[in-house]
């Protein structure tokens, strides 16, 4: 098994607040890995550290053997580490196809000369084909000429994943993909996540709803108050008294 992502003693302080404290965990290639914890556990901060948005106060984020800490989101994307967003962060004014075409940015490489002289026709066609392919993958192909804002919530989430997938990720970070979903949408989203993993994409899910990802993840890392609380397969996590306490009792408020 190869390690795709290795977080080594990552610490993030904002002034006097330590949001992430000496966090270490690793993600194996080809797996679905969950990063969970009660509200305020530091999941989102960890997510922003991994996606290159924040620079850790100390520690390293090793991705494919290279420290990517703080290099910026568009650079991590170029290396194959692509994040999705909570809620419906999409290009609402664009059609589904245009959304997916923007996702193909790294292969499309829009240039001024190409715009004026049209000598980038082959790249434009390839991007369009890739865009149609990912829309097909997520079952959105028939609606490709509709505006993203016209989609139902569940479909918007699927489109968010389609845009990310268009960028040919090796590792996809999903930010609370199940928030605000009804059971039917959750079921559909789980199927899509499995399908994505089977197509060769490694997945790291950040989620505060423990139950939603129990059936999904190969391994789960649990955080509480910025620290690593437990790590293991879902069964171990479910039975871990510390995890149960963090979610149900003690100071942390259960979701």
């Amino acid at each position: 098994m190869t390690l795709l992502l290795d977080v080594r003693a990552a610490t993030m302080r904002f002034g006097g607040l330590t949001a992430v404290d000496n966090l270490s965990f690793s993600v194996e290639a080809g797996s679905i890995h969950g990063l969970i914890g009660p509200n305020g556990a530091g999941k989102t901060t960890s997510f922003n550290l991994i996606s290159g948005f924040y620079t850790p106060t100390s520690g390293e984020i090793i991705y494919r053997g290279e420290n990517i800490a703080g290099i910026g989101t568009h650079r991590t994307a170029a290396k194959g580490l692509v994040r999705t967003f909570q809620h419906s962060t999409l290009f609402q004014e664009f059609t589904l196809l245009e959304n997916a075409v923007v996702g193909c940015h790294l292969n499309l490489r829009p240039s001024l000369a190409g715009a004026i002289f049209g000598n980038d026709r082959r790249r434009r066609r390839a991007a369009r084909e890739r865009a149609e392919e990912v829309l097909e993958f997520f079952g959105l192909a028939e609606r490709r000429h509709e505006l993203a804002s016209e989609l139902a919530h569940g479909h918007q989430r699927a489109l968010g994943m389609a845009v990310a997938m268009a960028a040919n990720p090796t590792l996809m970070l999903l930010d609370e993909p199940f928030t605000g979903m009804n059971p039917e949408e959750t079921k559909r989203m789980m199927e899509l996540t499995f399908k994505l993993r089977d197509s060769g994409v490694t997945i790291l899910i950040v989620e505060h709803d423990m139950h939603a990802i129990m059936g999904l993840c190969d391994r789960i890392t649990v955080m509480s108050f910025g620290r690593l609380l437990a790590e293991g397969v879902p069964q171990e996590i479910r039975e871990n008294p510390k995890v149960i306490e963090a979610y149900l009792g003690g100071g942390a408020h259960a979701a």
Binding site: Q92, E98, P110, R124
Partner: protein, 340 residues
Amino acid sequence: MPEERRNSHSLAWLAVLYAGLIALPYALSYSQQEILVFTTINVLLVMSYRLLTLTGEWSLGHVVIMGCGAYASALASKALGLPVPLSMLIGGVIAGLIAWALSYPLFRMKGFYFLIGSFAAGEIIRLLWKRFRDPFGGPKGIKRIPDLGTIEIGGFTIDFYEPVTYYYVALAVVSVSLFILWRIERSPIGLTFHAVHWQDKLAESVGVDTRRYRIQAFVIASFFAGISGALLAHYVGTINPNRFNVEEMVYVLTWAIVGGTATFYGPILGAVALIVINDILLRELGFDQLRPMFYGLILICSVLFLPKGLESLVPRISRLVRRGNHNPSPPKVQPQEGAE
């Protein structure tokens, strides 16, 4: 409508439009012909401004950038003795280069801060023009800028100082520029500009270097603003720092706001409508002193009653026309060419 039929349709309309534009000066008085030249130049100015607004940034320094093109072109032809067409191109390039240098401090800011920062940068440039008599001529600016001169073809003398001939030159330059701007917008780079505007975080997540694209839009917009400045300089023959002050910038803003920036034609509508109202209608009606008041009134009314700009009237009117022809309404969503 099939794509090809729609294309030939719009080509036919474009041909009619240009026939009208070519015939237009002969229906106008001398002073109106002069206004026509300025209008043509201003259309390029506001359209270059629109390219910048595609990425979501509104600048208050755009007219100063236009001035950079005007000064550069004037100096290139007067001090260096270069031919005027070449000087104009140099004017555009210099304006683009200045924008590129400015973009490093300016694009550390966004939104309101960018707006104020661009205003400050513009004022600094204007102060430099005032302070350095050599080569900028100080507060009085540069006078006796070479014009395009005359050429003789087979016994006919074409004098480019005449508003009509200069109008044709400007029309040609502006048309080519607008064509390039249109190609840019309908291409993947245009789609990326829009993407940077609407969701910069999402664009970043799929590898878009949003800062780089903001800078690109700023530099391209400034190049064309510089070209419009050069067109102005060689027509009026004299430029000074006050010609490019913030009051002029406010005019550009009102054209863009009244016309709307969502469509390609919006700012053109805004500029043409407001210039015709301000410089022809109100003048003819004898409201010379009261013109700013009317201008303000028009701005307020358009924001109140047409918040999406004059451009929002176009689909409504064309729908009415179509209904008259008993044609089915057009499909709601049209894929952009950038996605093809």
